[in-house]
């Protein structure tokens, strides 16, 4: 239908250029974008680029993962802890299709990522050549932007645009597919960073009137509640956010991806919203008179039944993405724009307040949740280790300074509920897509991006085995991540649903597991298994003290459940405590 190329030739090179191959240009572009680590897996259609990586190995560190999916999650972990763009690379065909899960995960969780895939020679496109797949077509619905490059001269502009789009506005993954002939072709190279794309407005203008309207609603509210999401972290707005909530004295709850934007211990932090969130913020969502959503998207796991969600309240929604406004919940005031700038501008418009009586309600409901749920999770008296007490021990011994990388399932909800965070960007988990197998490779990326931080991966026995081969990456790269597997020999969250909603018909959720200790030791990773409460503390200490990677398996109770819980289709205020 259309004839022009995706990326137009950059033919206006008037300044000094050097004549290099397309593949060398790719490396030079990555270096110009500040890339020091990338994750990937070689193969036929990307070999010229790997040949250049060999020459540039003192400048750019390529990490060979054991599967391309691992490369994407590692790049995500890298991006989530650092705020920088994660980069991964794969060959054509199966290499490229193996990236899709990670790309979809990055898309729904707004993670900046650039994926580079090799493609068969341009003369073979459409011929069903060996390892040819239409990765641009396949990745279209799960990328923020993608393109195919068939000429070396298109490479600099494509990569510059890719990084710009991935990191600007609401971040997301982009994919560039580069044919093998474009990698070999020589051309006059010159790199210019992308400063803008005509059709793309990363940050919408903030209308001052909406800020005034928001401030007026906040100043007049008697029972305001803030629910913040990852937008606060992605927008680097943690300080401005803290200043706003402290001045206005508003109880503030977080979505799973918003966790750690302010410390867990902050007196205005009233916990997590959503399906397995805390009791008070869920119940009081349906009692507040004003709900202020900041950088969150009213996911169905947050809202429960949307028809009964905060109907009594006025709603203010701060977001950088205009498409999020009124998407799930109709707002009264929408403040478009960057969280940092919006919150900074909001602050002087707010009256100081404390809402003491309203806060008391949160405390009262917390006490109910403590008695019914938290006490049993963190201070169990019956036999059988709980996931919660493992988290508590990690909190104590890391003093809340660790980054927790969790997988998907029961342990994830427990980790998010109970992990204590002092620093932002510390809760790394697959929120929107719920990708089992995320944690192990993501922890590798996180630890490599932040080598000075303690990075603790927490997974269940199911998700761990989805990407267990990445132990090989840890072994080869000597990445000192701490691996905690909470083993209940079940796909626990599915089993919990089967128990509650399918009359305990445990269809395909019981796991016969291998000797995890032997597997870890096979990769020369120090390993220990804990089956009794009395051994937990010492084992966690040994793990923290270990300088290299460490594997800790904790046998937890087989049929433990995560509560509170909002059953699917129920209202947030009908959250169950047991």
């Amino acid at each position: 239908m259309k004839e022009t190329q995706t990326v137009q030739n950059n033919t206006k090179n008037t300044e000094a250029t050097e004549r290099i191959s397309g593949s060398e240009a790719i490396i030079k572009c990555l270096l110009a974008e500040g890339v020091d680590i990338l994750y990937g897996y070689p193969g036929g259609a990307i070999m010229p680029v790997y040949d250049e990586l060999y020459k540039y190995q003192d400048k750019i560190h390529h990490v060979l993962t054991r599967h391309e999916q691992g490369a994407t999650h590692a790049a995500q972990g890298y991006a989530r802890i650092s705020g920088k763009v994660g980069v991964c690379m794969a060959t054509s065909g199966p290499g490229a299709t193996n990236l899709i899960t990670g790309i979809a995960d990055a898309q729904i969780d707004s993670t900046p990522m650039v994926c580079i895939t090799g493609q068969v020679g341009s003369h073979l496109l459409g011929s069903d050549a060996f390892q040819e797949t239409d990765i641009v077509g396949i990745s279209t619905p799960v990328t923020k932007w993608n393109c195919q490059v068939t000429k070396a001269s298109q490479i600099p502009e494509a990569i510059a645009k890719a990084f710009y789009i991935a990191r600007s506005g609401r971040p997301g993954p982009v994919l560039i597919d580069i044919t093998k002939d474009a990698q070999f072709e020589e051309f006059d190279f010159k790199y210019e960073k992308c400063k803008g794309v005509r059709s793309y407005k990363p940050v919408p203008d903030t209308d001052k009137n909406t800020l005034k309207a928001a401030a007026e609603l906040i100043n007049n509210a008697k029972k305001p509640l803030i629910v913040w999401g990852q937008g606060v972290i992605l927008g680097k707005a943690e300080q401005e956010f803290k200043a706003v909530i402290e001045k206005a004295g508003i109880p503030s709850a977080w979505t799973i991806l918003g966790a750690s934007a302010i410390p867990t211990s902050h007196p205005l932090n009233v916990g997590m919203v959503g399906m397995h969130g805390n009791y008070a913020p869920n119940v009081l969502t349906n009692e507040c008179d004003l709900l202020i959503a900041i950088g969150m998207r009213f996911d169905d796991r947050v809202t429960g039944n949307i028809e009964t969600y905060a109907k009594q309240a006025k709603i203010i929604h701060f977001d950088i993405d205009p498409a999020e406004i009124d998407k799930n919940v109709k707002t009264d005031v929408a403040v478009l724009g960057d969280a940092k700038a919006s919150l900074e501008a909001l602050l002087p418009l707010l009256n100081a307040n404390s809402h003491i009586e309203w806060h008391q309600k949160f405390k009262d409901l917390y006490n109910i949740e403590f008695e019914k749920v938290i006490k049993n999770d963190l201070h169990p008296t019956k036999e059988g280790l709980t996931m919660g007490e493992v988290l508590k021990e990690i909190n104590i011994q890391t003093k809340g300074d660790a980054a927790i990388v969790s997988d998907v399932g029961q342990h994830q909800m427990i980790a998010c509920r109970y992990a204590e965070f002092n620093k932002s960007k510390s809760n790394i988990t697959s929120g929107g897509l719920g990708t089992m197998g995320f944690a192990l490779p993501a922890a590798i990326g996180a630890k490599m991006a932040a080598p000075d931080r303690e990075v603790i991966m927490i997974a269940g026995d199911g998700g761990y085995q989805m990407t267990i081969q990445e132990l090989g990456t840890i072994f080869q790269q000597k990445v000192p991540v701490k691996i905690v597997v909470l083993n209940n020999e079940f796909l626990g969250m599915v089993r919990q649903w089967q128990q509650l909603f399918f009359d305990k018909r445990y269809a395909s959720t019981e796991m016969t597991n291998p000797d995890f200790i032997a597997i870890a030791k096979g990769y020369s990773i120090e390993a220990k298994k804990v089956t009794e409460r009395k051994d937990l503390k010492a084992a966690v200490k040994e793990m923290i003290d270990c300088e290299g990677p460490y594997f800790l398996e904790v046998r937890v109770e087989k049929e433990g459940n995560v509560f509170p819980m909002i059953p699917t289709g129920a209202s947030v205020s009908d959250i169950r405590l047991d």
């Binding site: 995706t6 279209t140 619905p141 932007w145 393109c147 794309v197 059709s199 498409a323």
Partner: protein, 176 residues
């Protein structure tokens, strides 16, 4: 009102790129919305393409889809309009056997009354072209089908708005 299914005509101004059609159609496909008609063409602005898409959905769905379309990096602007807000046309072509033109005198009347036009006539077949609203084209199709249609095709809707479209001024601002 927002929950009543209506016909909307979506006009999307975009960069001219490979793959954008896929990206835009995926937005509808993902929500299980059938595209009634789709047309791509140049627009009044040089180098900018215009998609015209017709869908039957509720206005609240339409607004969300407009947001999702505008979110695409290479989309400059998306608008949606109801039937009353636009002037629209479709065109169609019929291929029929030439002998009908002489044997069935009524055909000439049908062509004349429907404001259709004979594009070409040769020994074997003749071709009729008609532009108009879908109902007019449907009527012509019904009338001609009695005589046997060799081939028929209808284009996607194209539309302009009654009110001014501010896209040109917006683009100028972007470029300077």
């Amino acid at each position: 009102m927002e929950n009543e299914i209506k016909q909307f005509t979506v006009s999307i101004y975009t960069e001219n790129n490979i793959g954008l059609l896929n990206r835009i159609s995926a937005i509808f496909q993902r929500r299980h919305i059938n595209i009634e008609s789709l047309n791509t063409s140049p627009s009044e602005i040089e180098g900018v393409s215009r998609f015209t898409i017709v869908v039957n959905i509720t206005e609240s769905q339409m607004k969300k889809i407009q947001g999702q379309i505008e979110k695409q990096v290479e989309v400059i602007k998306a608008y949606y309009h109801t039937e009353e807000e636009i002037i629209y046309q479709q065109s169609c072509i019929f291929k029929m056997k030439s002998n009908l033109l002489f044997d069935e005198r009524q055909i000439q009347n049908i062509i004349k009354e429907s404001n259709a036009r004979i594009v070409t006539v040769n020994r074997n077949f003749f071709v009729i072209e008609k532009s108009g609203r879908k109902e007019e084209i449907d009527l012509l199709h019904r009338e001609l089908s009695v005589f046997g249609i060799m081939q028929f095709t209808r284009s996607g809707r194209i539309a302009v708005t009654k009110d001014e479209m501010k896209i040109s001024t917006m683009l100028l601002a972007l470029e300077h």
